[in-house]
Symmetry: C2
Subunit: 457 residues, 2 copies
């Protein structure tokens, strides 16, 4: 019972869809964050749930870790095989199985990316709204309970995965949830698996909720005199129930990085970027209501984007923020924080964080899905200077502690992975033990993505 | 280690908040549905989580079943102590702990009813939208993942419970979820407990999402020439994304029952009842869009209700539907079905059900939260005629089988309890076993609400 035996058996099963070459292992040992390269022992490329099940059964029998891999855009080391074993690359399971336009849902394999799904949906008048920025796989997004800029209107993956098929640690294939819009039929295993980061099951199919493309979509950005003003405008917008589709904060550092990256000339001030979805009259009304609020809180001139092209240009500034930050110092890695607090505490959390960053030698910026109370600091770290990582972690630690004090969470949307593990006890107390009890009940040998989410896993 | 010993210890602990009188046991042995009266051995009335924990620890040590009780409005026998033991009456834990108006949330004890919460919220401009009809406790609503008429717009208890405190089978008190609007921090234990019907934990506190009272609320009812027309109008409304706050179907039987009960004179035809929430302009636009759809599908004259009093009268017809049906034959009990199907299959499910009921001697009516694909048949059963219960169960069985064939669920909002247990294997397959494995991991002695939800519990 060894990893070596598992690899031999997996090679027999997968043939040329098994690889232990340095190049393939290297690709699956990368991450977009600050974790060092960590190679799995081998990579397999399953084509269907039966193959996933067969592979997991081998790994269970041989005590070999199995770590699911999408496209590697996660930020907390989720997809790294820290204990060795097999990286299971789901990117080949990339079929859109069904589009049920009349029910506003679609069935997809986990390797479909969100952009690929939206391309496929183009002719239907429907779209999948969840937008974490990166073109992640939908399986990976479900596994980390991803969300992003549109969660303020459309919710997170929790709300938008209606059902799924998954392989458990003993190889059983289960289906949970249903295409019915609601159900009180037993324990909510669908939401137990969404966000479990591959530690309870490997997702092999997803049924996703779709939305009709709104009749009217308008976007805008506007600078504010102060961070306080921008945050006050956000809070008032949410409290008044204006159904904004996106409401994003960018600090002056993020604006400066993007001006450089995309050759734009936005004023280097705190900004809000917004999007309104609805009928023609509805978006006009929303925009007017928001405009009135913003004016009271020191907003400057609005830049409107009505055409698809203008909107894409506007949102590229937000979505490429991560890469714009990287461009400041291409050899550096990024440590990203991900706190989420009750909206009444947002100003306190944001201002404290920006002050901490000002007082630190670490370069960085702050961007946020502030309508949900969620924001990120992107902290640039030289991988050759351990003191920079230490300082960035010190800053992140202060933010995480503050978020917990304010009744929030250390991760609004990125997940726990390896990076947030140390905060789980402080955030959840005895409930973290319960997560471990569930893990041990469903994966007694701890083969599914070990070293993540739960204690002693 | 016996129930008798547990009772002695509980009486010592609870003093005069322990009762084994016939009257108190009888009250906690009742149900609003067709299950026979089933007395618990005793009833305790805890005042806080610590007392719940102490009681559960005694019951765990003595192997005594514990069944939580709210106000007894559940419909599948959830709160009945089928294996004896203690009924834990949560109605004394009825404090609204905090209203965080700026965060649009409230913290409540589980014995607060939804109407009591909304009364408390009256001065804040906020409301709690979930409305199952009955004035249930919020703890009971969370435990059964309740929803009702407004779920089409505001979601179910799954979406509206942000966090909760609960006592596990070994007496541990845990807190799950947070006041942050989203989180990717570990397994979703909050949603594992919501809908677990008291079989995994007893809820001792809830943090609930609130909504701003809309600027404008308008309601309407309108008759349709045919069931097909009414359903087609619903499907088109949902597919077009009109954000209706309620969209309810009542069949001619339900209309007739209500005409008799409330001395109204609605035309005895299929009806839709609707409500629109939004700005003045928004509700007007929604109503116009719906009006155009309805006109294409054989709608008759709309009756509008704009004032609060008119709206209350209109919705009383829907919400008292259960009691109106009972009034037809006061000595009869009601068996209520609760299927929910993908909306594209709604017409098939509804028409097949109505045909089955027409062909049966059992009296009944059909009402539904059709915007979600969820509807109920209320079947009148004489408790002294076992053949009536058998025939009602035969009808219900056909509906449940059909719902599963159509990709739906046997329970959209009432829960499993005892009544839907026999369908769990057919609906969930191997996933039902997984529910049992979680149950055994968290409640190894099976003391929490035994005989419900999972196999062999």
């Amino acid at each position: 019972m060894t990893i070596a035996t598992a690899l031999i058996r997996l090679e027999t099963l997968f043939g040329d869809r098994f690889s232990a070459t340095e190049a393939v292992r290297g690709h699956h040992g990368q991450n977009e964050s600050y974790f060092p390269v960590t190679l799995p022992d081998a990579v397999v490329f399953p084509r269907n749930a039966q193959e996933v099940s067969a592979a997991v059964q081998i790994c269970a029998a041989e005590g070999c870790p199995v770590v699911a891999w999408g496209v590697g855009t996660s930020l907390e080391g989720h997809a790294l095989a820290f204990q060795g074993g097999v990286s299971m690359d789901m990117s080949g399971m990339d079929k859109v199985v069904a589009i049920n336009a009349e029910d506003l849902d679609a069935v997809v394999q986990p390797g479909v990316t969100r952009e690929a799904l939206n391309t496929e949906l183009r002719a239907t008048g429907l779209f999948f709204p969840i937008d974490p920025g990166a073109n992640a796989t939908l399986g990976g997004m479900a596994a980390t309970r991803a969300s992003g800029t549109t969660a303020v209107r459309y919710g997170t993956m929790r709300d938008n995965v209606l059902a799924l098929e998954a392989v458990l640690a003993d190889g059983r294939i289960i289906r949970v949830g249903s295409r019915a819009r609601k159900s009180s039929s037993g324990y909510d295993l669908k939401n137990l698996i969404v966000g479990s980061e591959g530690t309870l099951a490997i997702i092999t199919e997803l049924t996703l909720r779709l939305q009709g493309v709104p009749e009217s979509i308008t976007s805008a950005r506007c600078p504010f005199e102060s961070v306080e003003g921008a945050v006050a405008a956000v809070i008032e917008t949410i409290q008044m129930g204006i159904p904004v589709a996106r409401i994003e904060f960018l600090d002056p550092g993020a604006i400066a990085a993007f001006n450089a990256y995309a050759k734009m000339d936005m004023p280097v001030q705190p900004h809000l970027f917004l999007e309104f979805h609805g009928s023609e009259a509805g978006t006009k009304e929303q925009a007017e209501m928001f405009g009135a609020i913003a004016a009271e809180h020191g907003a400057g001139e609005f830049q409107w984007a009505a055409t698809l092209e203008e909107r894409n240009r506007l949102w590229a500034a937000r979505h490429n923020g991560y890469y714009a930050m990287k461009a400041i110092a291409p050899h550096k890695r990024i440590l990203t924080t991900d706190v989420c607090v009750p909206i009444s505490r947002l100003a306190e959390a944001l201002l404290t964080t920006m002050k901490d960053m000002e007082d630190s030698p670490i370069e960085g910026a702050v961007v946020g899905h502030v309508g949900d109370g969620n924001f990120h600091s992107t902290l640039l770290v030289d991988p050759d200077k351990p003191e920079e990582l230490a300082e960035a972690k010190r800053l992140a630690h202060r933010m995480n502690e503050l978020a917990l004090q304010l009744g929030g969470t250390v991760t609004g949307e990125h997940g726990v992975g390896r990076g947030k593990l140390e905060y789980m006890e402080a955030e959840h107390g005895a409930a973290w033990d319960v997560m471990g009890e569930i893990k041990r009940a469903l994966d007694p040998h701890g083969i599914l993505n070990p070293g993540k989410v739960v204690r002693g896993n």
